[in-house]
């Protein structure tokens, strides 16, 4: 079942002085399946935040449709099934963490007794239980981000939308947020998050979409995509004859000789098996075989790099 479906989404902004129209989202099509974790990548100014704001009703689309669980995204009942964490969130700093979450719980019409239980449980989940009575003005960026995660989960949402949830966090904070996302997936929730921290996306996502200049240039199953694009392997051997080395060199993408060891990058066209047989027949020793996968970063750079220079022009105000 589809959790979120975006069709032909367009968003234009007018520059404040020249009134020139700038297209930030340009005919975007996107489909997020229920229960999956979807990473939304793209260079700065590609329109990621604008897309998430359109989905959450903060911006009105110029054209196109957004449907959440089959219904229009502006439907109040549908909003009750969604949790949203905006980028660099700023919250009411005069409230304590407990008052803050209680306020958001009230916006979902949750009863007082349930609110108390949920607030306590969520504060524990994001590691802020000990700071429950402290005003938010005393919170660090990392703590604010974690509290932001808690407010996005206060309604136990089926679809969680997070805009750069790991930005500005230290490695421990990033790990904590990653763990929460993994837990959400385990609970059967759909997670859709934008990020420019590619290793984090690679680690926890089922599928990724790469947004470039307001259009999705890539939407694929992450692991299949990585396997499909990079079947090469690194082979380390030693104790082979000159003749075997020449054949190994001919079958490899490149070879490096380091003392008694030879390191060969072998293409994934069945050459590895041939070379293993060859080395064994020659009485050589196979030290290691490491299958290489193309990294998400290299896919991202290939998709987004040509557009990166143009995209800087699109950075109008706070898109």
């Amino acid at each position: 079942m589809v959790a979120l479906k975006v069709e032909n989404l367009v968003k234009d902004f007018k520059r404040s002085i020249t009134l020139r129209k700038v297209r930030v989202v340009d005919g975007l099509n996107l489909e997020i399946r229920q229960g999956e974790t979807f990473g939304f990548l793209g260079p700065n100014g590609a329109g990621k935040t604008t897309t998430l704001k359109l989905i959450n009703g903060l911006l009105h689309p110029t054209s196109g449709s957004i449907r959440i669980f089959g219904q229009d995204h502006r439907n109040v009942a549908v909003k009750g099934r969604v949790g949203f964490l905006p980028e660099n969130p700023y919250f009411y700093d005069y409230l304590t963490a407990e008052e803050f979450l209680d306020f958001y719980a009230q916006l979902f019409g949750i009863r007082r007794a349930d609110r108390r239980v949920r607030v306590r449980r969520l504060l524990e989940r994001v590691g802020l239980a000990a700071r429950a009575a402290e005003p938010l003005r005393k919170f660090s960026k990392g703590m604010t981000q974690r509290l932001g995660m808690a407010q996005a989960l206060i309604n136990e949402p089926e679809l969680v939308i997070l805009d750069e949830p790991m930005s500005g966090l230290d490695p421990i904070g990033r790990r904590d947020v990653r763990n929460i996302i993994v837990e959400l997936k385990r609970e059967g929730r759909t997670v859709f998050f934008s990020s420019h921290l590619i290793p984090d996306v690679e680690m926890i996502c089922d599928r990724v979409g790469i947004l470039v200049s307001g259009r999705l240039s890539e939407q694929a199953d992450l692991h299949q995509r990585l396997e499909m694009t990079s079947p090469a392997s690194d082979l380390r051997v030693s104790g082979i004859s000159e003749e075997t080395f020449e054949r190994l060199d001919a079958l490899s993408i490149r070879t490096v000789v380091r003392g008694p060891e030879i390191l060969a990058e072998v293409p994934g066209d069945g050459s590895v098996e041939k070379l293993i047989d060859l080395v064994r027949a020659d009485g050589g020793r196979i030290i290691s075989i490491v299958p290489k996968r193309e990294s998400l970063e290299s896919i991202f750079l290939r998709e987004a790099a040509p557009e990166c220079t143009e995209s800087s022009e699109l950075e109008v105000d706070r898109f």
Partner: protein, 253 residues
């Protein structure tokens, strides 16, 4: 429940704002100062206490309505706290109404504190004026409710600074709308149309001013009071509906 949650949160924000306390402090200090002035003006004692007391409640109430009011909506947008509210199952109209009611609640508490000081003094120096003064305070509160709606309306599409400026301008002109009409009648056609339009579009705040009558002991007709309240409620409702329509169309970039 959602409107109530936003209203209570707005009230909480206002009462945790130091500006409110500074304004309240000055208002009470001015009401207290009327006792000193009272001793200087022989024969005019009750007039000074009543005049200064009602004026303090009105002026400081307006300042709170305008400056705390515009801040409360504009700040939500400037600080981007609105992002997490609008993405929740809360309509924009619900947000505007909650903000408005929270601010009216703040004003009610603030007017109640100032009135308690003022009425205590009035009870000491002229207890017969306490009841008429209460009616005057009631209408001042209605005026403040209208000014708050004006502030919310402007801040639904403008910056905090401009909203404050516009609100104070409306408050000022609102006290002279009948004069505006008289001025138009003596001018050319175009000017007459303009003044006629402003007369009907801007709130006639004189409808809420019975200070003179209270000071001079002139009775005020119950019909006038009732009509003023109905006028205020209709004006507030129209402004909130228009503010909601404007807010509905707004993009939060």
């Amino acid at each position: 429940m959602k409107v109530q949650a936003i209203a209570v949160n707005t009230f909480r924000e206002a009462v945790r704002d130091k500006v409110l306390y500074s304004l309240l402090f000055f208002a009470i200090a001015l009401i207290g100062a009327s006792v000193v002035l009272n001793r200087l003006a022989i024969g005019q004692q009750t007039k000074i206490i009543t005049d200064l007391g009602l004026a303090s409640i009105s002026i400081f109430g307006t300042l709170i309505a305008a400056f705390v009011g515009i801040g409360l909506v504009s700040k939500e947008i400037e600080r981007r706290t609105i992002f997490t509210i609008v993405s929740k199952p809360v309509s924009r109209g619900c947000f505007i109404l909650g903000k408005y009611l929270g601010l009216v609640l703040t004003l009610a508490v603030e007017v109640a504190i100032m009135s308690a000081c003022f009425l205590t003094m009035l009870a000491i120096y002229a207890d017969d004026l306490v009841i008429p003064a209460l009616w005057a305070i009631g209408l001042i509160f209605m005026e403040l409710s209208v000014v708050t709606a004006v502030a919310i309306f402007f801040s639904s599409f403008s910056t905090a600074f401009l909203s404050g400026l516009f609100t104070m301008a409306v408050w000022l002109i609102g006290h002279f709308t009948p004069d505006l009409r008289v001025f138009g009648e003596r001018s050319g056609t175009a000017m007459r149309w303009l003044t006629e339009f402003l007369y009907y579009a801007l709130p006639n705040l004189r409808n809420f001013n019975i200070k003179e009558q209270v000071v001079h002991g002139i009775p005020v007709a119950a019909e006038f009071m009732a009509l003023s309240v109905v006028y205020g409620l209709v004006y507030v409702s129209v402004l909130l509906v228009v503010a909601t329509l404007v807010f509905e169309r707004r993009d939060f970039v």
